[in-house]
């Protein structure tokens, strides 16, 4: 079907579209399926939009509407935006799983989010008020009920001493009520003039009832009575009162707590009330990472070890893997395949399982390595800072060389025989052949793999977490980190997932710093690889 260059009339265009449809799709069925799928997705998104409106999530609403417009705009018209039809799903996934997550991490890095700053200011104020409303010590417990009188909620109580029934509305003083009918256990069954609420009515008005406070007498400083279950009431006192106009809390001694601007209420002399709330803190977390001596010391040590670990891991596994690959590439060797399979075996075990097994094998007294292999030596594999590093590197060598062996074997076999033949003719020694012919040729395909292996080991969380958990611990710092911690496992600990206080803000800041470090290394590495390619 050749496209005519002249302008088409409406009817002709329709015809062309129909023709196009008959060419590109096999009749009405795919069309129907497409419409049904699109309709289902639209219905789903509209439902999402409605719930977003209901919960006031405007950003999500905007995202859903954008998605709706794009989805229908791209897929509804036939035979248009063909590239977009291929790209759209990928872009959606990218924005949700990559950009979204990164964006959120960056946002957290600029907040004080963590233990003690976990929620909004409103939540914090509510919590502080609840936490500082305490029952008057030794006060009576009242059987009570909630009732309606003239449309107003009333708290009705029975004085346990006098059996007198009293009632009052919110903030009012209790007055005696006559003629109430009590149950056998002293509860209130009916009160004349009052409509006693059923429990289902009580739960429906939970908020009002939780806020219902009645006074014992006119004295503003005296205790008030409040119910927690609807059927029992107690005397309470507030030890902190909130002034919404000034946005301050005042305690019984008159000390005033004001919003510090850093996510908590503090007095002028630095006393703080828990909980605080989440606020933006600018570059505070990054500043702490680099300037707070308690954090900076361990951070720099961990960074140095992370580089050493990643570099040594790649170097050792590559050296061993390449050495073995060359050995087993010798055609005169018998049973090559069996040896190769044996070499790759460690690669077949799940890494985390191996790490756990190794942790047991390296036990100083009961472990197989010391007990059997080293004949009862007492090497402190996992508890001494230096030995722990050695242990981590050795275990990673065991875990990592099969991969290097595998890729090196592949690369070796791709080196054309005639090149090596020529070298032999020229009288080059085995070492010279390796050094000047094989290695450069190998490095071209292997260098990118080494860089990615470096990046992988830079973040080799599983090994560290399961083998040493970063230990042995640094002494005398407030940051929980140890001699074999990598940056990534330190971030995990700073975020508080291994016990200890949670500080998501600082952890996110670290995560961003790590991102830049790895990004920088990868950039430099790949630029280096390019020069390597040009050389050949």
């Amino acid at each position: 079907m050749s496209t005519p260059q002249t302008t088409l009339s409406g009817a002709e265009r329709e015809q062309a579209v129909t023709r196009a449809q008959s060419t590109y799709s096999a009749g009405p069925l795919p069309w129907i399926i497409k419409i049904v799928v699109l309709g289902l997705l639209d219905a789903f998104l509209v439902m999402g939009a409605i719930t977003a409106v209901a919960s006031g999530a405007w950003w999500i609403l905007a995202a859903i509407i954008t998605l709706l417009v794009l989805l229908n705009g791209i897929y509804l018209p036939p035979n248009r935006f063909l590239p977009a039809k291929y790209l759209f799903p990928g872009l959606v996934f990218l924005s949700i799983f990559s950009i979204g997550v990164i964006g959120y991490t960056v946002y957290i890095a600029f907040t004080n989010y963590g233990d003690g700053h976990n929620s909004s200011k409103d939540d914090a104020i509510t919590s502080i008020q609840a936490n500082n409303t305490t029952r008057v010590p030794g006060s009576k417990a009242y059987k009570s009920t909630v009732a309606l009188k003239d449309g107003k909620l009333q708290l009705v109580i029975v004085d346990p001493a006098t059996k007198k029934v009293r009632a009052a509305a919110d903030q009012e003083v209790l007055t005696d009520v006559e003629g109430a009918e009590l149950s056998s256990i002293g509860g209130i069954k009916a009160v004349p003039g009052y409509e006693v609420l059923s429990f289902s009515d009580v739960t429906k008005r939970t908020k009002e009832i939780a806020a219902l406070k009645v006074k014992l007498d006119e004295d503003p400083n005296s205790a008030f009575i409040r119910t927690t279950t609807g059927s029992a009431s107690y005397e309470y006192k507030s030890t902190l009162t909130y002034d919404p106009a000034k946005d301050t809390f005042t305690d019984a001694k008159g000390a005033v707590y004001h919003d510090s601007g850093k996510g908590s209420f503090v007095t002028d002399d630095g006393k703080r009330i828990e909980p605080g709330w989440k606020v933006g803190v600018g570059f505070e977390n990054f500043k702490r990472a680099f300037t707070n001596p308690d954090i900076r010391g361990p951070f720099l040590k961990v960074t140095a070890w992370t580089f050493a670990f990643a570099f040594l891991s790649v170097a050792s596994t590559f050296a061993l893997g390449l050495f073995l690959a060359i050995m087993f590439n010798e055609p005169r060797m018998r049973g090559q395949k069996i040896y190769r399979v044996l070499m790759i075996l460690p690669y077949a075990f799940p890494g985390f399982l191996s790490a756990l097994v190794w942790a047991g094998l390296l036990n100083q007294e009961f472990g197989f390595i010391n007990e059997v292999l080293l004949g009862g030596a007492r090497i402190p594999w996992l508890t001494d800072p230096v030995w722990a590093k050695v242990a981590v590197l050795l275990v990673n060598l065991w875990l990592g060389f099969p991969y290097m062996f595998l890729v090196a074997t592949g690369a070796l076999q791709s080196i054309p025989d005639d090149v090596l033949e020529a070298a032999r003719m020229d009288g080059a020694s085995t070492w010279q052949t390796f050094r000047q012919i094989k290695l450069p040729l190998l490095m071209v395909p292997l260098a990118p793999l080494l860089i990615s292996s470096f990046a992988f080991n830079f973040n080799n969380f599983v090994l560290i977490y399961l083998l040493t958990n970063g230990g042995p611990q640094f002494q005398g710092t407030s940051l929980t980190a140890g001699h074999t911690d990598l940056l990534i496992s330190m971030v995990f600990k700073v975020a508080g997932f291994g016990g200890g206080n949670h500080d998501y803000g600082l952890a996110s800041a670290f995560a961003i710093i790590i991102f830049f470090i790895i990004g920088g290394i990868s950039y430099l590495g790949f630029r280096q690889t390019k020069t390597l390619e040009n050389l050949n």
């Binding site: 789903f44 998104l45 739960t203 927690t228």
Partner: protein, 427 residues
């Protein structure tokens, strides 16, 4: 022809992909907003229906709570939705999910999480009504800053598990006498170790060593009328130094062995290789399975004071953001707190009930009675948030001392106390 198929296939694939995308995109916020919608519709459907409360529990307690929830529904019309969670993740999930409005109305919780929950503003105080119905240590455990934040239901602590085939007599009162007795069994060729205690090579185990530490008069915090005074550590000074020296001696003598992990110690004891093993009720079921004849004894003292173990209390806490506080309070205080339910919960978990009357009944079980006796003498594990940062330093110092890496045990100990003091002051 091939292009036709390719294109058709592509539409299908794209539809699938976008469908999945839409699902993931909406998954996040639709759950949050469906909660109010669900409660609203539930409220409107029937007059007797008084709404729903969601309670997190673990798989062990869920079967016991189910009939309680059913009874609560018949009595009050409130539906209790039980959600089974991994016990280890409860506190973390509670802290992160309550502020978003996605959290539960109440959750089962170990008491030592209390401080962290309060610090993050995710729990509400609970009015127990008559607190004297519960064991003192249980109420104290959930008390933070003068308020009670949980309805306690069980208490547990460690004690001596004695292999009665190897050591028929009751465990001696002092540590030295116990080791003496254990050594006799070893000398008789019936056992390999006089006494077993699982330790970690790097972080020791301050929890299991705590009774010995307290017997030297060096508790972690000073214990006052209102529970621990968390403002200052009390484990330094001369008494702490004495304990540190003791640790070093035991390490040197090989009685305390850092390479004896929990797993190894447990396996050795179950293989009948030692007469005494220090552990908690969580290993009883396995001991029975292993066919070990055992008795539960009080902890011996190493110093001149009484050995006090840490007591862990399980209970239920209420979310600060619950929309149904009245129903939650009623469910926790009047139902979970009742003698009947606490007895049922005890049968499911074999931990001493926190309700005094239920505990008296459960004492018919010799194990519960013995462990309960130790608990009654014990102290609740501190519930302040700073505590979570204390364990590693504390244990690391102990490990260094036991492992003979500390030249001067007393100095290493004091240095650790000073570091922790600074840490606690800062937080």
């Amino acid at each position: 022809m091939s292009s036709t198929i390719g294109r058709r296939g592509f539409i299908g694939l794209a539809g699938l992909a976008v469908g999945a995308t839409a699902l993931t995109a909406c998954g996040g916020e639709s759950t949050s907003s469906s909660t109010p919608a669900a409660t609203a519709s539930a409220g409107g459907s029937a007059a007797a229906d008084a709404g729903t409360i969601t309670v997190w529990t673990d798989s062990n307690r869920e079967p016991v709570l189910k009939p309680v929830a059913a009874k609560f529904k018949t009595d009050t019309g409130v539906t209790v939705k039980l959600v089974v969670k991994d016990f280890g993740k409860l506190a973390d999930d509670f802290v992160t999910q309550v502020p978003t409005g996605k959290g539960p109305d109440a959750s089962i919780m170990p008491h030592d999480a209390t401080g962290r929950l309060v610090q993050n503003g995710v729990v509400s105080p609970i009015e127990l009504g008559d607190a004297s119905l519960f064991e003192d240590v249980a109420v104290q455990a959930f008390t933070y800053d003068g308020q009670v934040y949980g309805l306690p239901y069980s208490t547990e602590s460690i004690a001596i598990l004695r292999n009665t085939a190897l050591a028929p007599d009751k465990t001696p009162d002092t540590f030295d006498a116990m080791i003496e007795a254990g050594k006799k069994v070893v000398a008789g060729g019936k056992a390999k170790y006089p006494f077993l205690l699982g330790l970690d090579a790097k972080t020791s185990d301050p929890f299991h060593l705590y009774p010995f530490q307290t017997s030297f008069g060096a508790p972690i915090f000073e214990l006052g009328d209102k529970g621990f005074d968390a403002s200052k550590l009390a484990m330094g000074g001369d008494k702490g130094a004495k304990f540190a020296t003791w640790l070093a001696d035991q390490g040197k003598a090989g009685i305390l062995n850092l390479n004896m992990t929990q797993d190894i110690a447990k396996a050795q004891f179950f293989a009948g290789k030692a007469p005494y093993f220090i552990t908690g009720p969580w290993n009883l079921a396995d001991a029975k399975k292993a066919g070990i004849k055992y008795a539960v004894d009080a902890l011996p003292k190493a110093g001149d004071q009484e050995a006090q173990a840490f007591v862990t209390v399980q209970g239920f806490v209420m979310s600060a953001k619950t929309q149904n506080s009245v129903a939650v309070n009623k469910f926790l205080v009047e139902y979970i707190g009742s003698v009947e339910v606490q007895t049922e919960l005890y049968k499911a978990g074999l931990r001493a009930p926190a309700n005094k009357a239920a505990y008296e009944a459960a004492k018919a079980d010799a194990d519960v009675a013995s462990f309960g006796e130790v608990s009654a003498k014990g102290v609740p594990m501190p519930n302040i948030p700073a505590m979570s940062g204390v364990w590693t330093d504390w244990g690391t110092a102990q490990a260094q001392i036991i492992g003979q890496k500390a030249k001067d045990p007393a100095k290493t100990w004091q240095a650790m106390v000073d570091t922790l003091d600074a840490k606690i002051k800062k937080s």
